[in-house]
């Protein structure tokens, strides 16, 4: 991997000042990745990449500009820096704009085990073997698995370097490994259903067994065969862990500073008040070891941390970067996230709903008639009002048992009421992505079908 050059970052910061900037930040990301895919047992694709980009934010007082470039020779960079400073000069002064308070930069950075030191990028042969194993397990699981969209193994590593003109600089490296498989089941009438499953981790040795990934994907495809619509009705909805996690992402979006100061969130003015049922505890943990969403410092060089977002149903904090914190007259929370060349935005780090005491079976068993939702499609979540309406698929529950698969239905409600009516939480939390949840049940939602 191309090494990042701390000296180049320092040079860029001093050039920015020389061109008239009063403050500046540099973010460099270097990344390398490979992907290998098989389909129906045959090699389908190989991909490899390397990238290195530099992002710059400059301030002239309270005016700022962002820019990014891949042209990293000093000649091109000098013109790029001068242009960026000029752009800042044309931007309106915004009293809330600026670097974060220098006193908030951490003195020491935690070691978070974000990179797998014992395993580099997975080569084509090994990656193909893993993908083949997963797909073969899926294809062999049942004669009704008749086709496949393939299996893919990806791995990547990256290095991040961030420095600003008030003396903070930090670096970290990370790695990711991901195996996904998408078999297709077909019933006698020719109708097809896809099942997708994956495993992902920062450490190669902690991935799930590829055969298990393949079998799980097959099971998910098979159980959708014969899915039908149901009558329109109001009923309890049990969210499987991945679908429940999507609700957490919507909540985090509404709790993030930029949505709040724009008035574009249903959580405006709700800090300290009850936003979820009393059994709901949601944490944001940026310093979890090897967490997919962990980072030793945030997108503005502030310390990351572990904190409750919701505790016993009460909204304990918003998620803030320096800008939105100033707008809301609060302190930044270490949740600035950054893409090269963009101004900071806000995101959760590792966000999770604290597990409860029920097994998924007990939760399903508590429902006389309702929906177990395993698929959600579309973008029908309105963060401003909390109105929620999405396409859904899953299993219909009759007398506490999964009775038959359903599809072409929607579930609708309002996130404000949905979080307040979470009445059972599962014990099946598993970390596969930065935002995770156990199974959960919402008392009642409108289900539209026939």
């Amino acid at each position: 991997m191309t090494q990042l050059d701390a000296a180049l970052a320092e040079w860029a910061l001093s050039e920015a000042r020389r061109h008239g900037a009063t403050a500046a930040e540099v973010l460099c990301v270097s990344a390398e990745s490979t992907a290998a895919g098989v389909r129906l047992g045959e090699v389908e694709k190989l991909k490899s990449s390397r990238e290195r980009r530099l992002g710059l934010r400059v301030f002239i007082g309270h005016s700022s500009a962002n820019a990014s470039t891949a042209e990293l020779d000093r000649g091109s960079l000098d013109a790029f820096i001068a242009d960026t400073v000029k752009l800042a000069g044309l931007t309106a002064a915004d009293p809330s704009s600026g670097l974060p308070d220098a006193a908030l930069h951490p003195k020491h950075l935690p070691e978070l085990e974000l990179a797998d030191l014992s395993h580099g990028i997975v080569g084509a042969e090994e990656a193909l073997k893993l993908a083949r194993t997963a797909e073969r397990a899926a294809l062999g699981a049942d004669p009704r698995i008749k086709n496949s969209e393939g299996a893919e193994f990806d791995s990547g590593r990256y290095q991040v370097l961030f420095a600003n003109s008030q003396g903070f600089s930090g670096e970290y490296a990370g790695s990711t490994f991901n195996l996904g498989v998408a078999p297709i089941a077909q019933s006698d009438d020719g109708k097809m259903q896809q099942g997708y499953w994956y495993t992902a981790n920062r450490h190669f040795g902690r991935l799930d067994d590829p055969e298990l990934v393949g079998k799980t994907a097959a099971k998910r495809a098979l159980r959708r065969l014969g899915a039908r619509k149901i009558k329109t009705m109001r009923a309890p909805v049990v969210f499987d862990p991945d679908m429940a996690a999507s609700l957490l992402r919507s909540l985090a979006g509404a709790a993030s500073g930029p949505s709040l100061y724009k008035g574009a969130s249903f959580l405006v003015g709700r800090l300290g008040s009850e936003v979820a049922a009393v059994n709901v505890n949601i944490f944001d943990d940026g310093i979890m070891r090897a967490g997919m969403g962990s980072r030793p410092f945030d997108g503005e060089g502030l310390a990351t941390n572990r904190k409750p977002l919701v505790e016993k149903g009460v909204l304990k904090t918003y998620l803030l970067d320096a800008y939105s914190a100033r707008k809301l007259k609060l302190a930044p929370t270490g949740n600035a996230s950054r893409a090269v060349g963009d101004s900071p935005t806000v995101s959760p780090t590792n966000l999770y709903l604290e597990p409860g005491r029920y097994t998924a079976e007990e939760i399903i068993g508590s429902v006389k008639q309702g929906l177990y939702v395993t698929e959600l499609i579309g973008f029908g979540v309105n963060g401003v009002t909390g109105d929620y309406s999405r396409g859904a698929g899953g299993m219909w529950i009759e007398d506490g048992e999964l009775a038959f698969p359903v599809q072409e239905i929607t579930i609708a409600g309002n996130l404000k009421e949905m979080f307040l009516s979470i009445d059972m939480i599962g014990n099946d939390l598993k970390w596969r992505s930065p935002v995770v949840s156990p199974t959960m049940k919402i008392g009642a939602m409108m289900i539209a079908g026939e």
């Binding site: 500009a65 329109t232 579309g378 401003v384 239905i409 409108m446 026939e450």
Partner: protein, 482 residues
């Protein structure tokens, strides 16, 4: 920069110190094993954005990116490698990585001779692009939008307006010896605002653009139209009642509601899914999949549209493809790989987000041809139903055909009259049969204003859609009211 606008192929050769001999060598190296095809894709993109919030133009950004991708195809296998360092060395490394997909055995193809130009369209030759316009002038327009929106109604609380413009230069050189190069400008103006009253808050959004000059936004006061439509939507939604739940008659307004075609039909007709037999439309060419009133087209050759291209990202000129003719399924959207494997002709639909991806079959501008009914007749024909005029995003499950799209502005139809506004709701249907329920097609075809972005397999590309007013006799509406 004027010369670069005229001769994009020379731009790449000059800027990165390449010559045709070097390209031939790298393609030769890519083809060292038994491959069917190889290509090099060069891209240089510069983009600028500025935005207004709380009546200040307080955010500006600029980016430059470039890179090269090397692709090797052998039968149905693809090797792809890219680098953002455009040097002969890096390209040779990429070629070595990409050719690993091909077998060792068999004969090597003959030497490549580069230089055959591709006959391409000329759909967006512009005198200047919006980033050439002084920033102050662009900032002034954003401030005018802010003032106009706030003057529209005192309940308008916050206005967010942005303008984003880019210029992308691409060059594709392939193992058939063809060279295609293009300059692709793209611009988009967006208005999003929040309205608030004692009962709550609502959002409204509108925007538009295309492969156009800055003056486009002033022709017919387009910027005012965008602003007022966004403001009206937010204000109307303040009064919205809960949407109904269940299956009912739905009338879609003209233009952007064409997202229905994109989700329900278009994706399912992309060549890759059909070659693999994983689409709900697989093996259905020649069958009836829509009412005889429906003819659906994908056309990448409409001048200045957001979804249009002179050549696709494999160097094939774009075309007009009939997907559904009077209800009968006629064609698929193809890139080179899938066309070759399906023994069909490429349709100019091989697209990619950037040099970081290999191309796939994608839509360009997808729309339905107009029919004979007037919009008023269509609305009058409905006793009880939903009239949806604006949408957020949509999504489809290719394999089972189920698709959704979410209304952001909709009204009840009661006894043939458009009555109360209802809250946004998701509509869900089944791609292969939703168009069989189209019972009336309006004479008012409109293309959308130029805001569409399509995501597939992690890649985003700009697209367009279009629709006349249509009546669908039954689709499930995901409201909250029983």
């Amino acid at each position: 920069m004027a010369n670069e606008l005229v001769k994009p192929d020379k731009f790449f050769l000059n800027r990165f110190g390449m010559n045709e001999g070097a390209l031939e060598q790298i393609l030769g190296s890519a083809l060292e094993r038994r491959a069917d095809y190889a290509d090099l894709y060069f891209e240089y993109r510069s983009a600028e954005g500025l935005s207004l919030e709380e009546s200040m133009v307080n955010h500006t950004s600029k980016s430059v990116s470039h890179g090269v991708g090397v692709r090797v195809c052998a039968e149905d296998r693809t090797g792809y490698a890219y680098s953002d360092e455009v040097t002969i060395d890096r390209m040779r490394m990429a070629a070595e990585a990409a050719r690993a997909i091909a077998d060792h055995r068999g004969e090597r193809p003959g030497a490549v001779q580069v230089g055959k130009p591709v006959a391409q369209h000329n759909l967006y030759e512009l005198e200047s692009i919006p980033t050439d316009v002084p920033l102050e002038e662009r900032a002034r327009l954003l401030k005018q939008i802010d003032e106009l929106a706030r003057a529209y109604d005192p309940r308008v609380r916050n206005v967010m307006a942005s303008v984003a413009a880019e210029r992308k230069l691409v060059m594709v050189v392939n193992s058939d010896g063809q060279i295609a190069a293009d300059v692709q400008p793209l611009c988009r103006l967006n208005v999003t605002l929040i309205a608030e009253d004692a009962k709550g808050r609502q959002m409204g959004a509108f925007g538009g653009g295309g492969r156009v000059e800055w003056s486009y936004f002033f022709e017919g006061d387009r910027w005012k139209e965008y602003t007022l439509k966004a403001a009206r939507q937010a204000i109307i939604n303040l009064e919205a009642v809960d949407a109904p739940a269940g299956e009912m008659v739905v009338v879609l307004g003209p233009g952007w509601p064409g997202i229905l075609l994109h989700e329900a039909i278009g994706h399912g007709l992309e060549g890759d899914f059909n070659r693999k037999g994983v689409s709900a439309f697989s093996n259905r060419i020649g069958q009836q999949v829509a009412s005889p009133l429906c003819t659906v087209i994908d056309d990448g050759t409409i001048a200045n549209r957001r979804g249009s291209l002179n050549v696709d990202d494999e160097g094939t000129p774009t075309s007009r493809t009939v997907l559904i003719e009077k209800g009968i399924l006629r064609g698929y959207l193809q890139d080179r790989l899938n066309a070759r494997l399906m023994k069909m002709a490429p349709t100019g639909n091989g697209r990619r987000e950037s040099f970081a991806y290999s191309p796939m079959p994608r839509m360009t501008n997808t729309f339905m041809l107009p029919g004979d009914s007037t919009p008023a007749e269509i609305l009058r024909s409905v006793k009880h139903g939903l009239y949806a005029v604006s949408f957020g995003g949509g999504q489809v499950d290719i394999t089972n055909g189920k698709f959704v799209f979410s209304a952001s502005e909709a009204y009840l139809i009661e006894d043939g009259e458009v009555t109360r506004p209802v809250k946004g709701a998701t509509l869900i249907g089944n791609g292969p049969d939703v168009l069989t329920r189209v019972s009336m097609v309006g004479n008012d075809l409109e293309l959308d204003s130029g805001i569409g972005t399509c995501g597939k397999d992690g890649q985003s590309v700009p697209v367009g859609v279009g629709l006349p007013t249509i009546r669908i006799d039954g689709i499930t509406v995901g409201g909250t009211r029983a």
